[in-house]
């Protein structure tokens, strides 16, 4: 049997035509492939939304427990505002994710409504991205205000200067770091990036379908 490269190359050429005579691909098969891939993408998006919703519900329960049990020994109702805002932001975030999950779950990717289904999924997720940005800022501002709710008790216990040192200086440092991180683009979460990738993939499928 031939084992030199040239001899084997000749054998390769004899097989070449055989590959070409294998079963051909039909338009219908290509369409099915696109549909199946879109279903996978939608399922991944749905799972991600459900997991995030679960996490936000856990945060909500934590903040509610802090409020109900008065974990920080607040003496006035006004001090509960930051925790309440955080609880509400988490709850709204979870409900939003659940509604997106439900909408995606209800999308039918049957052949005749593939483009329509993809458009619905893209719309639902884009709306979610915009809303989640607003919710994140509410949550962040409430979180930044939280240390001030402990200030009166700290002043009474340690005196004004020391209390300010304990609360305001770390707060300024944290805010500075957050602003720096934002400027450096470190807040781009991998989840959001992956959602954007999913959206880009769906949009490319949609563009293929809508291309005349």
């Amino acid at each position: 049997m031939a084992t030199t490269f040239e001899a084997l190359q000749a054998a390769w050429q004899t097989c070449d035509q055989q590959w070409q005579t294998q079963k051909k691909v039909s338009e219908r098969l290509i369409r099915s492939m696109i549909r199946e891939r879109s279903v996978t993408t939608l399922a991944a998006m749905g799972r991600q939304n459900l997991l995030l919703a679960g996490l936000f519900l856990l945060y909500t329960a934590f903040f509610i427990a802090c409020i109900v049990g008065n974990a920080f020994d607040y003496t006035a109702v006004v001090f509960f505002i930051p925790l309440s805002v955080q609880a509400v932001a988490c709850l709204v975030g979870a409900l939003l994710l659940l509604s997106v999950y439900q909408r995606i779950k209800n999308i039918s990717l049957a052949n005749e409504s593939l483009a329509g289904g993809l458009r619905q999924a893209i719309d639902a997720n884009e709306r979610h991205l915009k809303m989640s940005h607003k919710i994140w800022w509410c949550y962040f501002m409430a979180g930044a205000a939280f240390p001030f709710t402990c200030l009166p008790a700290a002043i009474a216990k340690r005196g004004t200067a020391e209390a300010l040192g304990y609360l305001v200086i770390p707060l300024v440092i944290i805010l500075g770091m957050v602003l720096l991180a934002k400027k450096m683009g470190w807040f781009k979460s991998s989840k959001q990036e992956s959602l954007k990738r999913h959206l880009a993939e769906l949009e490319s499928h949609l563009a293929e379908l809508e291309a005349a």
Binding site: M1, A2, T3, T4, F5, A7, L8, Q9, A11, W12, Q13, T14, C15, D16, Q17, Q18, W19, Q20, T21, Q22, K23, K24, V25, S26, E27, L29, I30, R31, S32, M33, I34, E36, R37, V39, T40, T41, A43, S204, A207, E208, L209, E210, A211, A212
Partner: protein, 168 residues
Amino acid sequence: MALLEAEFTDLLNQHIGLIYKVCNIYCADKEDRRDLFQEIVLQLWKGYAGFKQEARFSTWMYRVALNTAISNYRRVRSRPRRVSLEDAGIDIPDPGALPTANESVKLLYQAIAQLTPVEKAMILLHLDGCTYQEMAAITGISNNNVGVKLNRIKSKLEKILAVYGNNI
């Protein structure tokens, strides 16, 4: 859409053998071959709208198919849902199952399996009769480097073949 799809399918089928060969070279497992086949077809379809007639369709097809095969090889990923190729009547046979295949061809495929993904791409293009210029265009390597790399790969392959030859 239908016109584009028909045109694409027609062009794809003119060079379908290329995909079968890439699948066979990059995947030993039958299921993996089917997955790769679908991935290549999808990537080709995705890129077809942007395909400029500057390059020959087969050159572009080689580039997409090899890029997909190599990146698929490098990436560990969960399997997305796939169409059943069996139901569609498509099978990706082993090279040995082809009517004209002899022991030499089987041996060549076994030897190629020992190469790295990039080496596999280069040798496939060479065996398929691509010119150095085409190989450079497909792989992104300079014309001069193609010759050097190819010689290295060929001598590596010959060493592997010699070992196989001694064992037969």
